[in-house]
Structures are given as C-alpha cells and as structure tokens.
C-alpha cells in the first residue's frame, strides 16, 4: 500500500467517536455572521447595507481580484449590521450579520433532490460557475478553487487527485461525505476532470476508512464512472497535505514554493470541495453550507452536521453538551486546528470540524531542553530540520532560516507532536516562516520595481 516517502507520524485517529453518526441537517440559524475573509487572498467587499433584504444564495460579499472568493448569504432575511466582529481567535474582522426571516431561495437555484450527472459545459464555463459560487478548498486551506483549476499557460494537467484522506484525528466530515454523498463526490470529480481536461482521477483514501473505499468502488462500478479510481493509502499523518498526497498517489515530488502541484501535472481537490463543485455547476447552488464534525471524547453526544455558514460555534457546542470545567475548543482537529476563544464566532468555509478536548490531553507538557535526538528531523514530511528552524526563529536569524527553507514548512505539527522534550517547535517555526515570507515578498517587489 502506498504512502508518502519521508517523515510522518501515527497518532491515534480517534474517529470512532463520530464516524458512525449520519449527517444531520442542522436547523437554520436565527442569525448568521458572515466574515468577508473566508479564503486565502484579498478580502471580499460587502455589497449589502444595513436594512437590505437578502435571499438564500444571494451574493453579499463581492470577490476583489483573481485570488479571492464571493461570499453568499446562507439564509434569507434582513441585513442587520455590517461591522467588525470577533472571529474564533478574537480578532475583529469585517462581517455581515443577517437576521433570518423564513427560508426563501434565489429562483435560479435547483433545489430538487434528484442527481444530475450530465455536464456538457465548456471548461471555461465550469470555472466561471465555480468562481461565482465562491468555492474554496474545504479541506481547511481555503484556497479559491477556480484559481487551482485555471491551468497556467505552458503547463498541462495529467491527473486529478481527490483528497479523501482526512488524516487529521477526530474529524469524520469527509468520511461521512464519501459514504453518504458518493454520487455527488464522483460527479464533482468528473466535472473537475472536464474542467482541467484530463481523463484520469484518483481518489486517495486512507486504509482506516475501508467502508468509504468499498462504497466508492461500488458506486463507480455501478454507475460507470470511467477513469476514476479509488486508491487506498497507508494511514499516516499528514497524508492529507497536498504535496504529501501527490507524492503518495503519483510518486512525484512537488518542487519547493513558488512551484504549485500543477508543475508535476497534478490538480488536487478535497471530496467536500467536489460536492460543492457538483452543486455549483449542476444545481447553480453557491457554497452556503458544509458538513462539519462536532466531536470529542467527553461530549454528551457527537455529530456530523450539514450546517449553514454563519451558524455560531456556540450552537454546536450547545447541541453536543460541553463537559464542566476547563476545556479546549478547537476549530479543526487536534493537530492543525486553532483554539477558539470566542464561541460567538461563526462557522466558516474552511472549518471541517469542531473538536473539544479536555484535561491532560489538552495541556502541553513541561518544556525541557533539546536533547538533540533528531526525532523532529525524522518525522518532518518536508525533510526540514525543525529543531534548527525553531532556534533560528527564536534568535531572529532570518537569513539563515531562509537558507534552511523555513518557508517550505506546511505547519503540520509533527515536530512538536513527537518532541520528547515538549518543545514548542512549530510555534517558533511559524513566526520564522511568516517573517521570512514577508522578507522574500518585499525583496521580490523591490526587484520588480527595478
């Protein structure tokens, strides 16, 4: 069985808590807050004002530039505020607040439940539809999908890789999507293949999800999805990283930034993104909802919800029942998730799960000295030297950090996870990565001026 060549760790997947919970449709929120930044790139501009009536699916935030995405209203009602509100990390961001009145949709959206497979659109039309629908990578990176599917001149896509890995512990939203919405995933994959002009697609699924592998294969054989293949991968974190997945599936290594996966002929999409693409292209439905896992060992109940964006995180925690005492709330899983300090923060496009961890699991160990065991080096999936990068960032030696390729770091957290001295390696590497990226960008801008 295949996997990526170097590094990686094997944390307990903890998926048993929520993997058997079928996707439930969450009731519509009474009030939805929509941040204007739910993607990588330039923020969207709010095009509605206080007092405006909006319908479900209506554009409320217009994308500004190529690397940007539209924001749509997930509910129908009245805009009550356009102002700065705290996000999950407490930072104040521009948000549009909509108070729900009834459930009226835009008439162009096809809400019939039947599956529509036929797609005769041209690649350009498909990409335009995806752009209008505001689709971003739903695996967590939130990179605008239309940018990914626009193949730069001189390069050619050879294979579409669909990410059904879900290597992050606890989360099961992609798993449930593959089980319950397999037809949508596969039709979405066909549309992506059509958009980038390739005949072959591989869905990578880790071998801890045998049901999903079996179900997808059955549907492929039953409905005759030609050219789509399901590839079981050996379970290993961070296999869901774009570069790791390409290495595992195709055996090719993506060169360091600024090279993109397309330079080795691969286009990668998450399974949930495929569902969104299917709905946008075939049903004219913009991205207004997603499957989100609410999980944790000590919750009263765990769930997989199909929820509209803008639903406050507190609603999910209410339904799941948070245990008493100090808990750690995570937007995402325990490896890459970010702590939520403000539970009024809304659900956004990139949030595949809300995880609650408690007690010793949530606490960090006592920081000790580095014993030069090089465990962090052996687990780094990018072949970097985390102990060194963290030290260089601490000492603010940005030139040396750049020499040692700190910008290649994918922030997977394997180094911090494996460190026997509990050193916060990634915390410092992240600072180094941000600072060096800023320096590199400034230098490039200065060189362009010359």
């Amino acid at each position: 069985m295949r996997t990526f060549p170097i590094g990686g760790i094997h944390p307990h997947d903890n998926k048993e808590w929520s993997k058997d919970k079928a996707i439930e449709v969450l009731e519509l929120p009474d009030e939805a807050k929509l941040p204007m930044v739910q993607h990588i790139g330039s923020p969207a501009t709010p095009i509605v004002q206080k007092g405006d009536k909006v319908l479900t699916g209506q554009v409320i935030g217009q994308s500004t530039g190529f690397v940007s995405a539209n924001i749509h209203s997930p509910i129908s009602g009245t805009v009550t505020n356009v102002d700065m509100f705290p996000n999950g990390q407490g930072q104040r961001r521009m948000m549009v607040v909509i108070k729900r009145e009834g459930d009226e949709w835009l008439e162009t959206i096809d809400r019939t439940p039947d599956h529509k497979r036929e797609c005769t659109l041209e690649p350009k039309e498909i990409i335009a539809k995806i752009k209008d629908a505001g689709i971003v990578g739903l695996g967590g990176a939130q990179f605008p999908t239309h940018v990914k599917l626009t193949i730069p001149d001189g390069q050619k896509a050879e294979v579409v890789v669909i990410n059904g890995v879900e290597c992050e512990p606890y989360l099961t939203s992609d798993y449930r999507t593959m089980l319950e919405r397999a037809e949508m995933v596969l039709t979405g994959t066909e549309i992506v293949m059509r958009a980038v002009g390739v005949k072959r697609a591989v869905i990578g699924v880790e071998n801890n999800k045998p049901d999903a592998i079996k179900h997808l294969r059955e549907v492929i054989a039953r409905d005759g999805y030609h050219g789509i293949e399901v590839m079981p991968l050996k379970m290993r974190y961070p296999q869901g990283g774009e570069k790791q997945l390409i290495a595992a599936v195709t055996g090719r290594e993506v060169p360091p930034p600024p090279a993109l996966p397309i330079s080795v002929g691969a286009v990668v999409c998450n399974v949930s993104t495929c569902v969104a693409i299917y709905e946008a292209v075939q049903k004219n439905k913009p991205l207004i909802e997603r499957v989100v896992t609410v999980t944790g060992k000590h919750l009263n109940s765990t769930h997989n919800y199909l929820a509209r964006f803008g639903t406050p995180a507190s609603r999910f925690f209410e339904l799941a029942g948070i245990p008493e005492g100090d808990v750690k709330l995570l937007n995402g899983g325990p490896m890459m998730g970010r702590s939520v300090v403000d539970i009024t923060a809304p659900l956004i496009k990139g949030c595949s799960g809300l995880t609650v961890i408690t007690g010793a699991e949530a606490a960090r160990g006592k920081e000790l000295s580095c014993i030069k065991c090089a465990k962090c080096v052996s687990v780094c999936p990018m072949g970097l030297e985390p102990y060194l990068l963290s030290k260089l960032a601490k000492m603010q030696k940005w030139d040396m950090a750049e020499e040692h390729n700190t910008v290649d770091c994918i922030e997977c957290g394997c180094c911090s996870y494996t460190c026997p001295s509990n050193l916060p390696l990634l915390d410092y590497i992240r600072i180094g990565k941000q600072t060096v990226s800023t320096i590199v960008r400034a230098r490039a801008a200065a060189n362009n001026k010359k």
Partner: protein, 293 residues
Amino acid sequence: MNLLLTVLTLSLLGVLLAVILYFVAQKFKVEEDPRIDEVEKMLPGANCGGCGFAGCRAMSEALVKNDNIDALYCPVAGGDVMKSIAGYLGKSAADKAPMVATMLCGGTCQKRPKINHYDGALSCAVVNTFYIGETGCAFGCIGYGDCVQACKFGAMALNPETGLVEIDPDKCTACGACVKTCPKGLIELRKKWPKNRAIYVACRSKNRGSVVMKVCKAGCIGCGKCAKACPFGAITIDSYLAYINPDKCKLCRKCVNECPTGAINIKNMERLPKEPAAPKAEAPAVAKSETAK
C-alpha cells in the same frame, strides 16, 4: 652547540619575518581616518543598534563620512555627546530632545480580567500568531515580556501583580529595541520631561467605546472629554482613541480629571485638585476612577 644553532636559526627567522612583515605592512597599509577611532571612543560603546547601524563602529564611520549628520543620532549618548562629537568633527548636530520608551497599556490583571488560559510557548510573538491573547482586548499588553528580553539596558521589568511591563525611565536609553519587538506596537518613544514626569493615554485600543468597556476598565473609550479640556490642542481622537501629542502638551493635567475610565496616566506628578466649579455630572466619574484604583 645544538642549543646555539637553534637560537641562531630562530632569531634569524624572526628578523627575516619581521622585515617581510614591515614591507608588507607598508605596501598594504589601509588608510583610515583617525577621527573614526576618536568618535568611537566618545560613543557609549553599547552596540545596541538604536542608531540604526550595526554597532558603534559603523555609527562613527557614518558620522565621520557624512557631511550632514542631522539624521544620525545616538539615543543612548543623548544630545550633549552628539554635540561634542559634532564639535570635534566641525559639523553641526540637530537639536533633539531626550526620549523615553513608554508602554501604552493600562490593562492590569484587575482591570482587564483574563478570559482564557494559554499554555504554549511563553513569548508574545508566539501568542500573537495564535490569537489576541488571554484577555478580551485585541490591542493590550500580552504580558510575556518579549520587550524585557529585547532590552539591553535592564530598563524593563514585568510586574507580576499588574501583569504589565514597567519601564525605568532612568535606565531607558530610548534605543527603540522594545518598540520593534512588541507585536502589538504598544511601546512609543515619547519626549522625556525633567524629573521623569510624563502624561500619556495608556491605551491603544481602536475599538468602539462599548467594546472596550466590556473587556477593560482602564481603556480609552474615545469619549473626547480630554480633547475638549485641553487648552493647547495637544489631544486628538482617532478611531475612538485619544492621543496626547508630547510636543504640544504642557503638562497642565487638565485632561486627567476629565477621563471617565482613568486611561490617562500621569507619572511623578500630583493630580490636580478637584475643581469646586466643575459641573456636578463629572464628579461621580472622577470618584469612580479613583475607587477603581
């Protein structure tokens, strides 16, 4: 005999090498302005980088080479030393008032309660990459002391009671290392008054007053009372935040009693006595800020 031979050989070798070295030194002599050494001696030799150069040597080279040295200033040495250096070099130095680093956050543990618990790496820069910090204020002091580490003069210390950084104005040289380090941009170099007197708005929150009041009892809510009270027009309000311009301020302290939240801090000065003629509406506000202390 052997001994004599050894001594002779080594002495001859020594003389020969000395002669070679002499000619090499003559041939490859580096002409350097002797004034650079002299200027370097006059500088404090802290090598702090406060002037913008890599160290005192680089600064003295720049001082000797540039004709106009108005832009060059050693904050550690201060204006007098700069003048004597300029006098030595026959140039003119710009007049610069001495500065002192000031921490613009008054959100102590009591006034700005913690709402979550952080157990990651103890560094403000790291906290800032994750989220806004342990309190509800996105602009306030994080309190892990990155600036204390950056200070080469031992002028900064973390007060465990207030959770804030305190600056000793006598030790502070205004080199600006802390200003660059603070991820929230809370430290400002302000004019240094005699006897270390100071008056400043200890808040950098650009949030609306209602938001500030929820998270911090010592924050500026942008009410503008201080700006109205200031007879010199030194106070401006921008994005719900008052700022006292130290160049215009005359330390009259009229603004301090006006402030309903006590965000205006004064150092080494007494508050003005409460004016008997003041309108009654303001009296409870003052009393409130005093009891809050």
